[in-house]
């Protein structure tokens, strides 16, 4: 019996905000804290908490520095983060496919 795709979902990644952070970091390669906060419309504290969760899971890398006198925090997806994002998207697609198949079967 094949495993249900829901069992493959990673609790760290399967969360709307964290999935959003990872999707942005994947496309941007490197993204600044301010862009994430503006795009996701989160408070600095809330975003910081989600980033800490992802960093502890080694899915992102956080670099802090200065540009002129302005402090900057850059977020990069780690290779493990790339893999986790790909896996999450694959599982989500499988889930949708299964639901659609079940609906088609149920309609008959």
């Amino acid at each position: 019996m094949t495993e249900h795709p829901a069992n493959g979902l990673d609790d760290v990644v399967h969360q709307r905000v964290r999935l959003g952070i990872m999707a942005i970091a994947h496309q941007a390669r490197q993204v600044e804290f301010g862009f994430l906060r503006t795009t996701l419309q989160l408070t600095a504290g809330n975003l910081g908490q989600h980033l800490t969760v992802l960093e502890k899971a080694e899915l992102i890398q956080i670099e802090k520095g200065y540009e002129g006198k302005r402090p900057r925090t850059w977020v990069t997806l780690t290779p493990a983060g790339q893999t986790a994002l790909r896996a999450e998207i694959a599982h989500l697609k499988q889930l949708i496919q299964q639901v659609e198949q079940a609906e088609t079967t149920g309609d008959r």
Partner: protein, 240 residues
């Protein structure tokens, strides 16, 4: 900027379909924010316009022979322009484009995907220099051949070994890098114009006979740059 977290059109429940839609929407927004299409087009328009005095006044470095009329000379091509000016100008343009995207990346807080575009552009510029020099000393058609005797292969090679085609091919890569359908359509039009122009022969004794070959693409690039700057979607980098 609209937030997907507070967007009322997006239900709050995290169903797989909604999560995937969110990922797709965020990816699209990042791509739009990374774009800066108007700048490469402006850079290429500038080097195309600067090519006009170069084409007119640069010394002919390639092989020439006395023409059919006394005191005239027939040359294969303006080697100084295609093998020297254009590769250098293209390299400078790519350096400016890379600097523009890096600066924009720092300002907006987003990485830039421009590296493959610049690498392909530089490689094409080097190939252009090599191919131009090779063709100058190994011409496809003899000196005595009339333009009407040129075969489709000769036209095709001339089209490919043209700085304007090199710009167009690099723009195709930019359209792919930026996932930009409007730029892809624009580049198709630009390359079509370059193809049609390349197949036209202007018979003139004027030393400015080449003007349409450069003015038309330069105008198309300038118009494209202005259009992409004016009609950019919200979220795309603003010209400064």
């Amino acid at each position: 900027m609209q937030s997907y977290l507070h967007d009322e059109s997006v239900p709050s429940a995290d169903s797989p379909r909604e999560l995937l839609t969110t990922v797709g929407e965020l990816t699209r927004r990042v791509r739009v924010a990374q774009r800066g299409t108007w700048f490469p087009l402006l850079a290429f328009a500038v080097i195309t316009l600067v090519a006009i005095p170069v084409e007119r006044y640069a010394p002919q470095l390639g092989p020439c022979r006395p023409g059919p009329e006394e005191g005239t000379t027939v040359c294969v091509a303006s080697v100084a322009s295609t093998a020297v000016y254009w590769p250098i100008a293209l390299m400078l343009a790519y350096a400016a484009i890379a600097a523009f995207y890096v600066r924009q990346s720092r300002q907006r807080g987003l990485g830039t995907p421009i590296r493959p575009y610049v690498v392909v552009g530089v490689v094409l510029a080097v190939l252009l220099a090599g191919a131009s020099l090779w063709l100058a000393y190994h011409p496809l058609a003899p000196f005595s051949a009339a333009p009407s005797e040129f075969t489709p292969t000769m036209h095709a090679v001339s089209f490919l070994v043209s700085p304007l085609t090199v710009i167009g091919l690099a723009l195709l890569v930019l359209a792919w890098v930026e996932r930009h359908w409007a730029l892809l359509a624009y580049t198709a039009v630009y390359l079509s114009i370059a193809l049609v122009q390349g197949s036209q022969v202007i018979e003139s004794s004027s030393r400015w006979f080449f003007l349409p070959y450069l003015l038309v693409p330069a105008a198309v690039l300038l118009l494209g740059s202005a259009a992409f700057a004016l009609f950019r979607p919200a979220g795309e980098a603003q010209p400064r």
